[in-house]
Amino acid sequence: MIAYGCLGILFLFVVIRIILYYTHRKRPFPREEIDRQVLALINDRQERS
């Protein structure tokens, strides 16, 4: 029973990961956003210091 439980958890884990991967592929993370984020991280900290 526990064995099948582990298999079930593994199955859910793999299915959820695969769904997340395909969702991420449908909505790719734009590099422009990374650029904005990095510049904000650097320059907001600069202002505060």
Partner: protein, 318 residues
């Protein structure tokens, strides 16, 4: 007067995104925007571009997921009581792990930017620390090698939005003999406040590389026109700026009043360009600029052969 030195400035390498200029040490995760081979923090030669690091982190995270899958498979096998259960758990577990692996292989490039973004958030302190080390390196090298110091500050300036950095670059540029063939910047050096050094730099750029005078520079000059006029040589700098912007009809149409104020100080070739624009544009023909241009034409260039070939509509209207 400061003695200027001739220098050969290395052209700035352009990247599509500013973060692509960053490299990270594989060993200590120190960041750098400069081009040193050895890490200033740990001394190792282990720098890689941040995007490569993101791919490594993504692959590592995916490997962890596969290990979790294998662990669950193993747990299932260990808890199995019959051979059938062992076979099902082992077969099912391995099949699911292989499926996960196949999907992961296709998703590395999609997942890397997301991983990179999360990683930057986590490594913010190290990022700032790395840039601080870069700034210190540039400042310390300045007495010995001004050209290198300028190139380092220029590189740092692509990420760090700081008037202090810009002022340091400007003070170095003012000590160089500037030439047209140099890879010079202007818009990235614009300050929030008026600065005479920047004003002089704009004046020089207007003469040697007028194509660098664009909208933002023009707005800076307009915002601080009174301060330009109050400095020695300020009027000449404004006239040089006007001389640079008359190269584009668009600027003449957008800023006719500014051009009108300094049109009289333009050299002949620049005035000829302005004259041609004003006489051929029906929207400008009855403007204050056109009146000023007509006066200048009548007083200085009425008999100049270079102007005779141009449409004389404006001249006839006076």
């Amino acid at each position: 007067m400061m003695k200027k030195i001739p220098v050969q400035i290395t052209p700035l390498k352009r990247t599509r995104y500013a973060f692509q200029r960053l490299r990270v040490c594989r060993s200590c995760h120190n960041f750098t925007v400069l081009w040193e081979k050895e890490c200033m923090h740990c001394g190792k030669s282990a720098f890689i571009p941040v995007e490569h690091m993101a791919v490594r982190l993504t692959k590592r995270s995916m490997q962890t997921e596969r290990l979790v899958a294998l662990f669950l498979t193993l747990a299932g096998v260990l808890f199995s009581s019959t051979f059938q259960e062992i076979a099902i758990c082992l077969g099912g577990g391995l099949a699911l792990t292989v499926l996960l692996w196949i999907v992961q292989r296709q998703m590395v490039q999609t997942e890397s930017p997301r991983k990179l973004s999360k990683w930057f958030n986590q490594e913010q302190d190290r990022l700032i620390q790395g840039l601080r080390l870069n700034i210190e390196a540039a400042v310390s090298i300045r007495p010995d090698n001004e050209r290198l110091a300028y190139e380092m500050l220029r590189e740092i300036g692509t990420l760090v939005d700081s008037d202090r950095n810009r002022l340091q670059q400007l003070s170095l540029l003012r000590s160089f003999i500037l030439r047209r063939d140099m890879d010079l910047q202007l818009e990235s050096l614009l300050l929030f406040h008026f600065d005479e050094g920047l004003a002089e730099y704009i004046g020089e750029i207007a003469k040697i590389k007028p194509e660098l005078i664009k909208e933002r520079t023009l707005l800076y000059v307009l915002d601080h026109e009174a301060e330009f006029l109050s400095m020695p040589g300020g009027k000449e700098i404004l006239a040089a700026t006007v001389g640079a912007i008359v190269r584009m009809k668009r600027y003449v149409t957008l800023y006719p009043e500014f051009i009108r104020r300094y049109a009289r100080l333009l050299p002949k070739d620049r005035f000829l360009r302005l004259f041609r624009i004003v006489t051929t544009d029906p929207h400008l023909q009855f403007s204050n600029l056109a009146v000023e241009v007509a006066e200048i034409y009548n007083s200085k260039y009425q008999w100049d052969p270079d102007f005779q070939n141009t449409d004389k509509k404006l001249g006839h209207n006076v």
